[in-house]
């Protein structure tokens, strides 16, 4: 068991928790947060491979993580704004009720 294995296990655990949360919870905010957790798990992997990977390049993993964080920030902002807009429209934020786009 190398540190890399440990990191990957942790990150896959985090990913699965995020996924389960996103699937199970009905509150849209929590679904969004679950997705954020999955993103974090991916970032964790980047850092893990950057640090313990076979051919570490000086900054690649880090820069990936920075970009991912920036995108996550944008995503969170837009997502939460959407949630607020939905809330204003239908007075609750349960995801299963936001289904007016169904076929």
């Amino acid at each position: 068991m190398t540190p890399l294995h440990l990191c990957l296990l942790i990150s896959s655990g985090l990913f699965c928790i995020g996924l389960t949360g996103a699937l199970a919870r009905s509150n849209t905010i929590l679904v969004l947060l679950g997705i954020e957790l999955m993103l974090n798990a991916a970032n964790l992997n980047f850092i893990a491979f950057w640090r313990f990977g076979p051919a570490p390049s000086p900054a690649n993993g880090m820069i990936f993580v920075l970009f991912a964080i920036a995108v996550a920030a944008a995503e969170a902002a837009v997502g939460l704004a959407l949630i607020i807009a939905v809330y204003r429209h239908q007075k609750n934020i349960r995801l299963q009720e936001a289904n007016t786009l169904r076929g």
């Binding site: 996924l19 996103a22 699937l23 679904v31 995801l95 299963q96 936001a98 289904n99 007016t100 786009l101 169904r102 076929g103």
Partner: protein, 676 residues
């Protein structure tokens, strides 16, 4: 300190700063917006003069300052600035004319509510235009080029509350975009072919021998050299921006903008950008001329487009009644001249004409602006008249501009630059058709300018607006006077006897002797004669019997009503485009409907008829068979649609679940199948 290419970025930056400042300033703060714009322009002018002085010390070299913008994959995307006589001359012209027009605008736009925005836009335009001039990279040039387009859009549509202005702005924007598409394609192709977009880069640039040879060496299908194809695509951009045939239609409409804008953008600077672009990439355009095997040379196309435009513009100008539109078509025609000069191989003549034209056309436009401002925004020449005693300075300067444009010999700059072009056309060995077109245009130019001056300034006032006109304040007349001086004096920089400008531009030795003047005297005499014919014709038709009322019919309309109607209608180009390009859209849209209605509908009709017919034979069978069949088909279609729609539950959880399951499957496949 010497001014080098490293300092060149200052020239466009200053107006840009002024634009930013103007955007920030409160809209009440007129003095600040205008003041910063003018000061920035003045400093830019001084810097441009320094640049010129520095460029003239080594006219044959191209001083560059390149820098990496960012890395694109492995290769850096590099931009740069270029200092050579072409850039320097153009910068001086743009900043000087721009400065005068800025000052003129102080008076002209005085009463406008959006005064501040106007100067902000003007500064933005100046910055973008100067950016085009100093760019050493086709990409940087393209960026600024588009910014110029944007500024032009904003300024044409400055009085956006007028529907016609808004429409004209849109038209100009879209029409030039068609050309820009070509430019963009050319740019991409060039980058693909050479891996660089820098013009000059110490032997690595696209305009330097290595790249040119490579470009000319490759041929495409049909024997077309690669350089020709790219050159023509780039030329598309120039066609759009410079209002060349067939994309000239936006330029006259652009006159809906405020007159200083027309003077600055649509006479002196922006439209000349196309000419500048071709002159800038001239080595690329020119390289295929040495190849005999190619079916068409890029420059030949340029020459013919130019010739057609020159003649066409002049023709249409004869039939216009709006003072600014006459000048607009005249601009189109003059730009055609420049293109013609480029095409026939004398880019120095083209730039010479560009510089002189910038001065006298800006002068004419500002004169027109002065008239319009004095006559309470009356632009129809039939309703003007009799302004000469009321507006002496305007008349005098306008007349100078008119004579420069018409090519009245010896004293006026237009004469010398036009002579240079005609000589070049004469020396062209491919065809003499452009020369004849140019000569014809000379007659027409002299004719319509005479008509314009006679109608506007002579005779008696034909409307209340013209009656109450009066001379404008010094802030408007002084730029006119300065420009008039330029319109006279500039010509002597490039006479055949002393072709200083041409020599400096091309970086060759200056040969001055009167002998050269004599050499081409035959052609010169011919063109002087043609100018005389034009002037005389104009005088005979318009000056001799001055119009007394606005309703009086134009003498030409009396003689050739159909022709004049067509000219007034601009030879129906707009209608043509509406009927072709515009209609194409409509056509494709209606095509689907048509297919629906006629083909399918016909089929259905036919079937229905068949049904009716068979119904008479066996009604029972008909209802069970055919109609039932239709019902069944439609029902099944609807059913399948519903089934598919059910997958679209609108529930994000469902989608997420599907994604998760798919992910698991993917992971399984990877783990079981492809695990190393």
């Amino acid at each position: 300190m010497t001014f080098t290419a490293n300092h060149l970025w200052l020239i466009p930056t200053l107006p840009l700063l002024a634009a930013g400042l103007g955007a920030l300033a409160p809209s009440k703060d007129r003095r600040l917006a205008a003041g910063s714009a003018i000061v920035a322009m003045a400093i830019s002018f001084v810097l441009a003069c320094l640049a010129l002085q520095s460029a003239l010390q080594a006219p044959a070299t191209h001083a560059v300052a390149n820098f990496a913008w960012f890395d694109l994959g492995a290769s850096p995307m590099r931009l740069g600035f270029l200092l050579d006589p072409l850039t320097a001359f153009m910068c001086v012209m743009v900043t000087f004319v721009g400065l005068l027009i800025f000052i003129f605008s102080l008076g002209y736009m005085q009463a406008d509510a959006n005064f501040k925005q106007f100067f902000c836009f003007l500064s933005l335009f100046a910055a973008a235009m100067l950016g085009v001039l100093v760019a050493n990279s086709l990409l940087l040039l393209f960026i600024c080029w588009e910014l110029v387009g944007l500024a032009s859009y904003l300024l044409i549509g400055f009085w956006f509350h007028k529907p016609s202005a808004a429409a004209a702005a849109k038209k100009a924007f879209i029409t030039t975009r068609i050309g820009d598409l070509g430019l963009l394609l050319g740019l991409l192709w060039l980058y693909d072919a050479t891996g660089s977009l820098l013009f000059y880069d110490g032997g690595q640039g696209v305009l330097e021998n290595t790249a040119l040879a490579a470009l000319a060496g490759q041929t495409l299908g049909g024997g077309l050299a690669l350089s020709t194809a790219i050159g023509l695509l780039i030329f598309c951009g120039a066609i759009g921006k410079s209002g060349q045939f067939p994309l000239h239609v936006w330029l006259p409409d652009a006159m809906e903008g405020p007159t200083p804008v027309s003077a600055l953008i649509h006479a002196a600077t922006m439209v000349a950008a196309g000419v500048f672009l071709v002159a800038r990439v001239y080595p690329l355009m020119q390289i295929d001329a040495a190849l005999a095997a190619v079916p068409v040379h890029a420059l030949t196309v340029v020459a013919f487009i130019g010739a057609i435009t020159a003649l066409l513009g002049a023709f249409i100008a004869c039939g216009q009644n709006d003072i600014k539109r006459v000048l607009a078509f005249s601009t189109v025609s003059q730009l055609g001249y420049m293109m013609l000069a480029l095409g026939v191989g004398s880019w120095t003549a083209a730039i010479f004409h560009l510089l002189t034209h910038a001065f006298f056309k800006a002068l004419l436009f500002l004169g027109a602006g002065s008239v319009i401002h004095a006559a309470h925004h009356e632009q129809d020449i039939r309703l003007l008249g009799g302004l000469r005693p009321k507006m002496k300075i305007t008349f005098a300067t306008f007349a100078i501009g008119m004579m420069a444009l018409s090519g009245v010999p010896f004293l006026f700059s237009g004469f010398w630059s036009k002579e240079a072009i005609l000589h070049a056309a004469h020396a062209w060995d491919v065809s003499h058709l452009p020369l004849y077109a140019g000569l014809a245009a000379v007659v027409l130019t002299a004719f319509y300018m005479t008509r314009l001056v006679a109608e506007t300034f002579l005779g008696q006032p034909r409307s209340a607006a013209a009656e109450h006109a009066h001379e404008n304040s010094a802030v408007m007349t002084i730029p006119l006077i300065l420009l008039a001086l330029g319109a006279i004096g500039l010509g002597f920089l490039g006479t055949p006897a002393w072709p200083w400008l041409q020599a400096r531009l091309s970086g060759t030795e200056l040969h001055s002797s009167l002998h050269h003047l004599m050499e081409g005297s035959g052609l010169m005499l011919l063109s002087i004669g043609l100018v005389g014919v034009g002037l005389g014709l104009g005088w005979w038709l318009y000056g001799r019997r001055l119009r007394t009322t606005a309703e009086a019919r134009d003498p030409l309309v009396v003689t050739a009503p159909q022709v004049m109607a067509a000219l007034a209608n601009r030879l129906g180009f707009d209608e043509l485009y509406a009927a072709t390009v515009g209609r194409l859209n409509h056509f494709t849209a209606t095509l689907a409907q048509g297919i629906d209605r006629w083909v399918l509908g016909g089929l259905v009709n036919f079937l229905a008829q068949l049904g009716v017919f068979s119904g008479t034979v066996n009604r029972q069978l008909d209802e069970d068979g055919l109609n039932g069949g239709f019902d069944q088909i439609s029902a099944s279609v609807r059913g399948s649609g519903q089934r598919y729609a059910q997958a679209q539950t609108g529930e994000a959880h469902g989608y997420l679940r599907v994604m998760a399951v798919a992910f698991i499957v993917l992971a399984l496949v990877l783990v079981l199948g492809g695990a190393r």
